[in-house]
């Protein structure tokens, strides 16, 4: 009996569980790339965007963004491992995933991803180390001086000792060198971050079989929307974390209970306002760029009217109209833009705008990935995607709502732990 059920379950082809076919579609056509492939460019985009925001301070010296820049860098490090997660969850043979690094087949746009990604991870890690080296040394020295360390403090001492990598010099000259090196790493990091994400765009843009995906604009569109989503997420998290800190300062919990030098509520509020305003300006610039390119692509398709336009028009203008024009452009682009551009902008209004922007970019990824598979290669039929919500097997969990939520929540969990080792909000003098 069990064997029979298993046999029956095995007969459900990958993709069949969430695809509804209409009119004439080829027998093997399903929505093979589902929610995890929506999450993949979304998460890499957040990584790249967060890094670009942090570079604004490190490379271009936008001093006013100092605090949010450090936060973004730590956050982008927390996001990094998560960019890989959706890919692994989506693979039919996840244990063979490492083959991409072992026998890369370089004519494939995915083959170099592992290498670009690792390079980028090294750059972010190096930059973080340079930023936090002084903190590591100071903490390690303080723990060393402590007479009787408990188990936890002994472990912390060992960890921070290791994190210094034996570089204990925190004299002025050494720190200046760190600062310089950090700037160099950040400036290498920007093109690599853009490449990482433009590359994700290339993976889609180079699929010649897919009429919606195939456009050379795809990598550029992806980079712009990546920066938009990354900056928006950093602003949002920054505001939320500052609110939590304000709450703690008011109630005098944690650090505020014992440390008289802890920032006061007014200090927190002032810093927050200024940083959010400047960061949201950058957010708007990138939003304009992203929207322009997306609309250009759409107009170009409508104007040239090649063979695929008939079916694309039906998908874009009729079947997915609400998803594209109402949710993505209306709610996710125009409304937040208005919220930010109308006079009397406040932190609260900007925060609401960032939530909408994040939603808008997610919808853009969704409309590209799922929308690109919404029509048949025969141009004579359509496929509808239904997100599996209640999982009934591993596949509907992995590629369903809960799989996507797992991916979305992980960076915040990671950030919590990384923040313990590399506090994103340090007093000025401890870091660069």
């Amino acid at each position: 009996m069990v064997g029979e059920i298993a046999k029956h379950a095995a007969m459900i082809v990958h993709g069949e569980a969430w695809t509804t076919k209409e009119l004439f579609t080829l027998p093997n056509e399903y929505i093979y790339w589902s929610i995890q492939i929506v999450m993949y460019p979304y998460m890499t985009g957040l990584v790249a965007g967060a890094f670009v925001l942090s570079s604004l301070y490190h490379v271009f010296g936008v001093v006013k963004l100092k605090e949010i820049a450090r936060f973004s860098l730590v956050f982008s490090f927390a996001l990094l491992p998560v960019a890989m997660m959706p890919l692994l969850l989506h693979l039919q043979q996840p244990f063979r995933g490492i083959n991409v690094m072992m026998t890369p087949h370089f004519t494939s746009a995915i083959a170099a991803f592992g290498f670009v990604f690792s390079t980028y991870a090294c750059i972010v890690a190096t930059e973080l180390w340079l930023v936090y080296r002084k903190f590591f040394v100071e903490t390690a020295l303080a723990l060393k001086a402590q007479k009787d360390r408990g188990i936890i403090d002994s472990f912390r001492f060992l960890m921070f000792k290791m994190l210094t990598l034996g570089a204990w010099d925190i004299g002025h000259e050494a720190l200046e060198k760190d600062h310089k090196a950090c700037k160099i790493m950040a400036s290498i990091g920007i093109p690599v971050a853009c490449f990482l994400h433009g590359y994700a765009g290339f993976i889609f843009g180079s699929v010649k079989a897919n009429a919606l995906w195939m456009t050379p604009l795809m990598p550029v569109i992806f980079i712009c929307s990546a920066v938009v989503s990354g900056v928006a997420l950093c602003i949002l998290c920054y505001v939320v974390v500052q609110e939590i800190r304000k709450f703690m300062a008011k109630r005098k919990i944690a650090r505020w209970a014992k440390d008289p030098n802890a920032p006061s509520i007014e200090e927190l509020e002032g810093a927050k306002h200024e940083e959010v305003m400047i960061a949201s300006n950058y957010l708007m610039y990138f939003m304009i760029a992203a929207l322009t390119l997306e609309i250009l692509d759409l107009i170009f398709r409508g104007y040239t009217q090649v063979k695929s336009w008939d079916i694309l028009r039906e998908v874009i203008m009729e079947r997915d109209f609400n998803k594209i024009f109402v949710l993505q452009y209306g709610l996710g682009n125009i409304l937040p833009f208005l919220l930010m551009v109308l006079p009397g902008r406040t932190v609260r209004r900007t925060t609401i705008a960032t939530v909408l922007v994040l939603f808008g970019v997610f919808m853009m990824r969704y409309n590209v990935v799922i929308g690109g598979q919404a029509f048949s290669l025969s141009f004579a039929g359509f496929m509808d995607y239904t997100l599996p919500i209640i999982p009934h097997d591993l596949e509907t969990f992995k590629e369903g709502l809960f799989g996507a939520l797992t991916v979305a929540v992980t960076p915040f969990v990671l950030f919590y732990f990384i923040n313990k080792v590399m506090p994103a909000f340090l007093k000025e003098e401890s870091t660069h």
Partner: protein
């Protein structure tokens, strides 16, 4: 060591090392060990002869262990019906595994359309399978090189190496690929490579009662299939993608995509 001497030795080492390295590129093991480099398999479909019996699909699924109740197939047959009031209907219920036993058209979502017999302008069947393209988009995009083209022109998948990313499925303009429901890797028509290499016909060619499906060696000018491809008007599917398909069609209508 003098600088001059050092440079001389350097040059000697470089020249010496480059000889075996260049030998590696001169001798391509793939070419040397190819079983039949003089063979290039091609497929010929005569759409005029196909009656939509579905024997080819059955034979293929049986031969290649594709479960009958799995809604995927390495080969399938499409039915095209044009009405006199200028409407076009296409379907392929269950990939034509059980043939076209009903006259109504499958519209998907459990809906069907019965067409008035007097209103039918023209109707025909088109068998489809992997085109084993000369420049395949699917092998290009495989990130691990698990799918490849053999020297005798057949595109294959290495089931032990495929990671199941689905990029090849996305890249194929013909919808010829799918995930095998049990092996959990990309799967596709192999031209029954295991039969070909033993001198047998592929399962679908063998099963076709009307010789609508045939195979031949396009490098052999005397092969009857090559003769037809050379001398008659044949077409290929979706040539705009530049994949150079090796499945040729007699009587191809422009609406067939």
């Amino acid at each position: 060591m003098e600088r001059r001497e050092f440079l001389q030795k350097c040059i000697m080492v470089i020249v010496g090392a480059s000889v075996p390295v260049s030998a590696l590129t001169l001798i391509d093991p793939k070419k040397v060990f190819a079983e039949n480099p003089q063979i290039q398999w091609a497929f010929l479909v005569d759409t005029n002869k196909c009656v939509g019996c579905g024997f080819c699909v059955k034979a293929c699924k049986t031969e290649n262990d594709i479960p009958f109740d799995a809604h995927v197939s390495r080969t399938w047959v499409e039915r095209y019906v044009y009405t006199k009031d200028d409407k076009r209907y296409v379907d392929s219920p269950d990939a034509a595994l059980y043939g076209f036993t009903e006259s109504r058209i499958d519209l998907g979502r459990g809906e069907y359309k019965e067409i008035d017999k007097d209103n039918v302008g023209k109707a025909f069947f088109v068998p489809k399978l992997c085109n084993h393209c000369s420049s395949p988009a699917c092998t290009q995009v495989c990130p691990v090189g698990a799918t490849y083209k053999t020297d005798d022109g057949v595109v294959l998948v290495d089931r032990t190496w495929c990671i199941g990313c689905g990029y090849c499925i996305m890249a194929c303009p013909y919808g010829a690929r799918f995930f095998h429901p049990i092996a959990k890797v990309a799967d596709k028509c192999t031209f029954c490579y295991h039969r070909l290499s033993k001198g047998l016909d592929s399962a679908c060619v063998n099963a076709c009662p009307f010789k609508a499906r045939r195979m031949g060696n396009i490098h052999d000018k005397n092969d009857p299939i090559t003769q037809i491809i050379m001398n008659e008007r044949v077409g290929v599917l979706k040539d705009e993608f530049g994949t150079k398909p090796q499945a040729f069609y007699i009587g191809l209508a422009q609406e067939v995509r």
